[in-house]
Point group: C2
Amino acid sequence: MLTNKGKYGLKAMVHLAGLEQGALAQVADIAEANSISKKFLDHILTELRHAGLVYSKKGRGGGYALARPAHEIQVGKIVRVLDGPLAPLPCASVTAFRPCDDCRDLKTCAVRLIMIDARNAIANVLDNRTLAELWTLTNPPEHAAMYHI
Amino acid sequence: MLTNKGKYGLKAMVHLAGLEQGALAQVADIAEANSISKKFLDHILTELRHAGLVYSKKGRGGGYALARPAHEIQVGKIVRVLDGPLAPLPCASVTAFRPCDDCRDLKTCAVRLIMIDARNAIANVLDNRTLAELWTLTNPPEHAAMYHI
DNA sequence: AAGGATGTCTACACATATGATAGACTTATA
DNA sequence: TATAAGTCTATCATATGTGTAGACATCCTT
């Protein structure tokens, strides 16, 4: 389940993906444009900065920008930073594996095995989509052209 | 994220899938065999009964059994009964769709669109696996045969 | 009918996570 | 130095998750 934090983080990243080269966006503007509480978004963006996904500058003229090109940032990475592992169960996680306290046998635990499949299916979607694609979804080229007629 | 409730429910259903035709299993036995608190499992099995997935009988000789053949019960159904929609976001849900309070445009919300893909990927896994398959994973035929040598 | 077995219902308690907010502090620029 | 804007620390409220207790209802046997 994607938390509001994860959802807001993705929206903020899409917002930053739409910036012109070299431009910075202030938290307050991102928050307003995406109906997010500024203070909460402060936190979220700080986490993203700690994870190396965004660049920030303090003081006058400051703000945030993507730390890397949008097409180099996988959606799954963003989700993991904010919401943790993609796996529905810790024992099904590739990046944060942890067996159940009462685990008897990893190999024959049917629930684990099917949750690995579920995890892999989720990762297949989220790790194969980039921020640049999200931006395109939000601003479809055809749609934009038609809108201006 | 699969809750303990969802995990325990799946384990209990797998347990019931392994019963002989016509046999009933008592909550206490299922709980012990799967390291689950009996009282918590009471609740879980009652929910599964309300959803029509299990059959129960009170009194002497009572207990639980699957309400339908294991190969007719999709894993996704069980998970939905116990943990709710598979979708990471309510607006990405097929069975329990609900737009975000601040939704501006369903069609161009990139986060929603990618979460629909994620939901579909999850559903593709869980709705295409049955309880009978889970039982086989837990008790692989080859493994069992080798074990008895 | 009573007793025992077993599921079902209602309620409660506690822990954790999430979502949000406030205030102070730090950094950068003019 | 003053102002702008991000960063850190802390707190609070709510929701959810997890689990437990006790009473009640139902079924079967004696």
